[in-house]
Symmetry: C2
Subunit: 295 residues, 2 copies
């Protein structure tokens, strides 16, 4: 545990200490380097020590155990919707609080071993989410290519480079740079407005900023008409805008759900305190994931 | 659409032609053979001609174009939640109606080239969803093995068999049989109650059976407190039980959602007709995916 601060420093930066002498924040993210997760982490804290971990659960565990100060995980993509693994970690596995959110534009690139021509490409690697987000481009421009799944867009570049110039990968621009791949095409996603929302997990509770979002999850003791309507009515009557609603299986019984709501305001603001006080008795269980400044 | 009445009769006819001389139903599913999709299709219509297609979108297109009479697609897993691709096809891409649902118990097996010992296994292939559902088993029993993504559990078996006895795959029992792999361990999923719900897509609208479920999707013209509560109140006041609520990004603007509700009853039942009549004016758009017998 002593020397983990060195992990995830691909180009071993010069300054281990910040200007004021504090050690830099250790920021865990879903690696390897070159993923969108790394891009979000760099955007959130450019000076941080970035520590790659192999799964979202490992990122949360790193922060809980003190290996890292904060962790960045993806929670929602504009095309694919919620990241189920992250919601389940928030629901079942961690007491960490959301500290902040980062909204990252997602640009997909087709990259390959330098010298590869598009007409040579027979196999295209990527994370299944990225393959799905570029479906129309792939069908039009590479109708005969074989798609292959990778665990991350960065691993996809590694897999493509291992082959003899007949493969490509869909990845970030940075992964292409890190692994020495050439960019064959850029902006190949099916939607122009593609973004991913990341959250930053940590141990404290940020104070009210005056422009916050709060995320909660709740369950009901029995499945009856109107339970969820009752909760939403409480928010509507308090004129609080719910910005997102989602459901996840409880995993205990098929057909039973945990509901997740994001709404505007901070859990310490008096109107929010009041509505949470009204809602809590309607639920079997209610968990606040955090209140944090809206991006 | 002519011979749809024959579908869903598990113990009907014995061979290629039905008793009355009709050709068997052509049932599209997400291939290759050996996937859970094939198992669901076989369970729904054991006598059908099963046609594998490479994606859920291709299954829907096969039915729309007349290549197949019906198509089976996964819509929800007890652990992973909704299958986003299927929801998006129902929302954006097809006018097919849901004809039926099939709930399939999911059993994961560790399989490998015959003669492989567990201690030889250095690489484990599977679909990322299956890897996720067996996470605890893998961490405990194969802490040092490398996980590799495959496009399906069946492809995972092919990839594992191609290597020199140092690989395994997580797959169905049938995929192991089809590809000649040996089962090393069985029931390796983290949850005992794991099931996947599949829906059957087709062109007709099944009549009311007296014990149906209806699936709808809707959007709101403007994002204001209480819109969703208004819809849920209409169902609650009519004493109609909503069995599931879900949201998906509209893909047009980040933060705008399509809401999906499943509820008990058939769209042609008078009380359901009445509540849909009340709800429709509250929505910018409302689409009925179908009414079908509950499993």
């Amino acid at each position: 545990m002593t020397n983990q601060a060195a992990v995830g420093e691909p180009e071993a930066n010069g300054q281990q200490l910040t200007a004021n002498g504090h050690t830099p924040v250790r920021l865990a993210y879903l690696g390897p380097p070159g993923t969108f997760g790394e891009e979000a982490a760099r955007r959130y804290a450019p000076e941080a020590d970035l520590l790659p971990f192999p799964s979202h659960a490992a990122v949360a565990a790193a922060v809980e155990s003190g290996l890292a100060d904060l962790g960045v995980v993806a929670i929602e993509n504009a095309i694919n919707g919620s990241v189920a693994e992250t919601l389940d970690i928030l629901i079942h596995e961690t007491t960490l609080q959301i500290q902040a959110e980062v909204v990252l534009p997602i640009e997909h690139n087709l990259v390959a071993k330098p010298g590869t021509r598009a007409s040579d490409v027979k196999v295209i690697y990527s994370h299944t989410q990225a393959l799905g987000q570029c479906r129309r481009f792939l069908e039009r421009c590479f109708p005969k290519a074989q798609m292959e799944a990778a665990l991350s867009t960065a691993e996809a570049v590694e897999l493509a480079l291992r082959r003899d110039g007949d493969a490509a990968a869909i990845s970030t621009r940075r992964a292409a740079e890190l692994y020495g791949a050439e960019i064959l095409a850029t902006g190949i996603g099916d939607t122009a407005n593609n973004v991913t929302r990341f959250i930053v997990l940590g141990r404290g509770k940020p104070p009210s900023s005056g422009r916050d979002r709060t995320s909660i999850a709740f369950t009901f003791a029995e499945d009856r008409p109107g339970s969820l309507a009752g909760v939403l009515n409480a928010f509507a009557e308090a004129n609080i805008n719910c910005t997102k609603i989602e459901s996840r299986p409880t995993k205990a019984t098929f057909g039973e759900y945990v509901f997740l709501i994001d709404f505007e305001g901070h859990q310490d603001d008096p109107p929010i305190r009041a509505v949470l006080g009204r809602v809590r008795p309607l639920c079997a269980d209610l968990k606040v994931f955090g209140s944090y400044p809206r991006f």
